[in-house]
Amino acid sequence: MADKMKVRAKLSGTTTTVKAIMYHPMESGSRKDKETGELIPAHFIKEVKAELNGEMIISADWGTGVSKNPYWSFEFEGGKAGDTIKITWTDNLGESGEGEAVIK
């Protein structure tokens, strides 16, 4: 699933900053196909969660107003170099993706 997400995690002082890009169309369901004129079905990430060494630190509910190929950055305390951040998403069609980064 590495092709579905890029994740970086960097420690500065006591704060870890995570930056992630998830490759996903985030189709709203209200756009039309330019050639056929038919509506493109909604296809968007609904739920995302981020875990530090398996412990939940932040989670989110998303709608269709989140941009295509979602970018998400967040911060947390208590991480150490070598710890693993794992991000997992699930979309409205039941597909999922995940990505990991080791804190540097």
Partner: protein, 152 residues
């Protein structure tokens, strides 16, 4: 049907119910309920009500960083943070979007109440950030002029 067979069926029914309840509880602990009531609304006020019901919001205590002018409404960078303690969630809305509710982020143990994201804006609008902390709601908004609307 003999008694032992009936008991067996009852037993398996009960354990099925318990398994389902157990799964629901696990999901609940990972995610609060996805806000369908807010998502389904196509106007700002009903979407806001779908998110927070009739609760009052206070202006302030929320730092919302949004561009004054967004050349591309398909990808507008937004940052939200707050100095408030015990933040439960931060939610983002766009008041002119076809679906005004955009996202909600939940903060667990070690996270800081900060989020950086990119959103779609159909046209020039107010971006609204709402923070729930210690059971109270705080809000801030920012006008964004969109020169090319996002395909929302």
């Amino acid at each position: 049907m003999n008694i032992s067979k009936r008991k067996f069926i009852q037993g398996s029914l009960y354990s099925g119910v318990i398994a389902v309840l157990g799964k629901a509880t696990l999901l609940q602990s990972a995610f609060a309920e996805w806000p369908t009531a807010a998502f389904d609304e196509t106007e700002y006020e009903p979407a806001l009500k779908g998110l927070i019901g009739d609760s009052e919001m206070q202006e302030g205590n929320v730092t919302l960083d949004a561009p004054e002018i967004a050349e591309n409404g398909a990808t507008v960078p937004i940052k939200v943070s707050t100095d408030l303690d015990n933040v439960e969630w931060i939610s983002i809305l766009g008041d002119k979007n076809p679906r005004p509710w955009i996202s909600r982020f939940y903060f667990h143990g070690k996270s800081k109440p900060f989020v950086s994201t990119r959103i779609k804006l159909r046209e020039s609008s107010n971006v609204v950030a709402i923070v729930k902390a210690d059971g109270k709601l705080y809000t801030s908004k920012s006008a964004v002029k969109v020169t090319a609307g996002g395909c929302v």
